[in-house]
C-alpha cells in the first residue's frame, strides 16, 4: 500500500496517507480503536471501496487500475472473514462452505471431497448438516473461516473475527488463522482485542484516526 488515502463523503478521512508493506506469508494484526480505519483498510484490499488517492498493490498488481470484470477473480484469491460471519442462515454448514466453490464454478464432486476435509481442519467435521443458528459464535466463525479458506487463497483477511465470539473460544479462532498462515497464506487480521494481540505476538500495525502510528514485529497491543 502506497500513500493510500480514503475520504468518505462529507470529508471524513478514514485513511490518511497510509503506506505499508505486508510480505507473502506474513501474519499481521491490524489494531486500533473503532473508527481508526481498520475496516476501510480491508475493504480497500478487496475493492469493496475505491481509494481516493494512492496506489494499492497485491502481488505486484496495481489493483486501482484493475478492470471491473476482473474484481471477482481478485476476490477468489482473498479469503474474507467478518465479525458478523456472513453465513447464509437457510443453508447448512456444508452448503455454506460448498457455496464458495459453486460460485467459482467448481464441480459438486470436488466440493464433496474438499468441504468435509476443510471442515474437519477447523474442527467441525461432525456438524456438516447443522444450520448456522444451531452453532455457537465460535463455531460459526470457524465455518466462515472454512469458507474463506476452501479455495486456498494466498491471502486471508479477517475483520474483527473474534468480535462475536465468546472470549474463551476466541483463542481457538486465532489459532486456526495461525494454522492457515502456517500453510503459506498471508493473514491480515483487524482486531481491537488486546489480549489476543498480546498472546500471539505477531507483527502489529497500529492505527489511529486513519494513520499508522506504530508498526513492529512480534509486537503488543499498545501501552
Amino acid at each position: 500500500m502506497r500513500r493510500v488515502t480514503k475520504v468518505y463523503k462529507g470529508n471524513v478521512y478514514a485513511l490518511e496517507d497510509v503506506t505499508v508493506d505486508i510480505e507473502r506469508g506474513e501474519f499481521a494484526f491490524l489494531v486500533g480503536p473503532s473508527g481508526s480505519g481498520k475496516s476501510t483498510f480491508i475493504k480497500l484490499l478487496i475493492k469493496e471501496e475505491e481509494p481516493t488517492g494512492g496506489q494499492i498493490y497485491i502481488a505486484d498488481t496495481n489493483i486501482n487500475q484493475m478492470r471491473k470484470w476482473k474484481v471477482p477473480y481478485l476476490r477468489r484469491k482473498i479469503g474474507c472473514v467478518f465479525q458478523d460471519f456472513k453465513l447464509l442462515p437457510h443453508k447448512t454448514v456444508y452448503q455454506n462452505v460448498a457455496y464458495a466453490m459453486e460460485v467459482t464454478g467448481k464441480s459438486h464432486r470436488l466440493a464433496e471431497q474438499q468441504v468435509p476435509e476443510v471442515l474437519k481442519l477447523v474442527g467441525l467435521g461432525h456438524k456438516l448438516d447443522s444450520f448456522p443458528d444451531e452453532l455457537s459464535g465460535g463455531e460459526q466463525q470457524r465455518v466462515a473461516i472454512a469458507r474463506a479458506f476452501i479455495n486456498r487463497p494466498p491471502i486471508l483477511l479477517a475483520d474483527e473475527p473474534t468480535g462475536n465470539v465468546d472470549p474463551s473460544l476466541a483463542d481457538g479462532v486465532v489459532r486456526l488463522l495461525e494454522k492457515i498462515n502456517d500453510s503459506g497464506t498471508t493473514v491480515i487480521m483487524a482486531t481491537h482485542d488486546k489480549e489476543i494481540v498480546n498472546t500471539f505476538r505477531k507483527r502489529v500495525i497500529a492505527m489511529e484516526n486513519g494513520r499508522i502510528i506504530r508498526d513492529q514485529d512480534r509486537g503488543v497491543y499498545g501501552e
Binding site: 471477482p72 477468489r76 474474507c80 447464509l88 457455496y99 460460485v103 467459482t104 469458507r147
Partner: protein
Amino acid sequence: MNKVTYFLSETWVSLRKNLILAVAAIAVVAVSLGILGLVVMGWNMFSNMIKNAERKVGEVDVYLNDLATQEEIAAIEAFLVSIPEVDPTKVVFKDKDTALQEFKERFKDQPELWQYIQENPLPNSFEVMTKDPKDVGKVVGEIQNNAPYPERIEDIKSASSAIEKLENIFDKFRQIGIIGVIALAIIAVLLVSVTIQVAIFARRKEIGIMKLVGATNWFIRWPFIMEGVLEGLVGAVVAILAALAVKVWILDKLIENLEFLRLSLSPGLLPVLVPCMLIGGIVIGALGSAYALGRFLEV
C-alpha cells in the same frame, strides 16, 4: 450442466418466494401478448374477407354530369371499351330515364321517395365490368387519369372504394390495437422488472456474500435473468392457449356461421404467430430483468 442446474434451482426458489408478484407479472405478459394475438388474428380474418370480396366484384360505375353531350358520351364510351382490362362487351350506358325507372322499381313500396320528384336528379352513367375483378383499382385509376372530358365525369364508384372505406376503419382499429399492445408490453416489462427487483432485494445479503467469495457478475445475474425470462415465457404460453381457445371456440364458429362474409384465417398464420408470441414473451421477460439488474444490482 452443473451450473445450469444451479441457476435453475435458484430461479425456482426465488420465483416461489414472491409468487403473487410473479403471477401478476405473468398475467400482464399474457394479456398483452393475448391481445396481440387477437388483433393479428382479427386483422387476418378481415383482410381475407376483403380479398374474397374484391375477387367477386369487378364492377365500376362511372357517373356523368348532365352537361355531357352525345359526342362526349360516345367518346367516353369508346375510351372505356378501349381499356385492356375492361370486358368490352360489358360496358353498358344507362341514361337518366332508365336510372330513374330502376330507382322507382327498386323502391316501389316507398312511393313517397320518388312521387314528388319534378326533375330527374339521377345522372347518366356507364356500368363497366372488368375482365378480372382484381383489376378494379387499375381501371378506376385509368379512368381518373386518362379519360376524355374529365370535367364531364362526376364520380367513379367501385365495390373496392366501399371496401377501401371499410379498410380505413379497420386500419384505425388495428392501430389502436397495436398501440394498446405496445403500452401493455411496456407495463409488462415494468412489472417483470419489479418482481426481479423484489427478488434482488430479498437476496441482497446472499448477493453480497456471492460477491465476497468471488462470484462473477454474470454468475450473480443469470438466475435473475432466467427468472424474468421464465415469467415472460409462462405469460406467452398462457396467451397462446387463450388465443387458440378463442380461435377454436369463437373465430371458427364465426367463420362457419357467417359464411356469406367469407371470413377465413390464413392457414400459415398460426405457425408464425405462435413462435412470435413466445419470442415476444422472452423479450419482455429479458428486458424486464435487464432493466431491474441495470438499476438495482451493483456488481
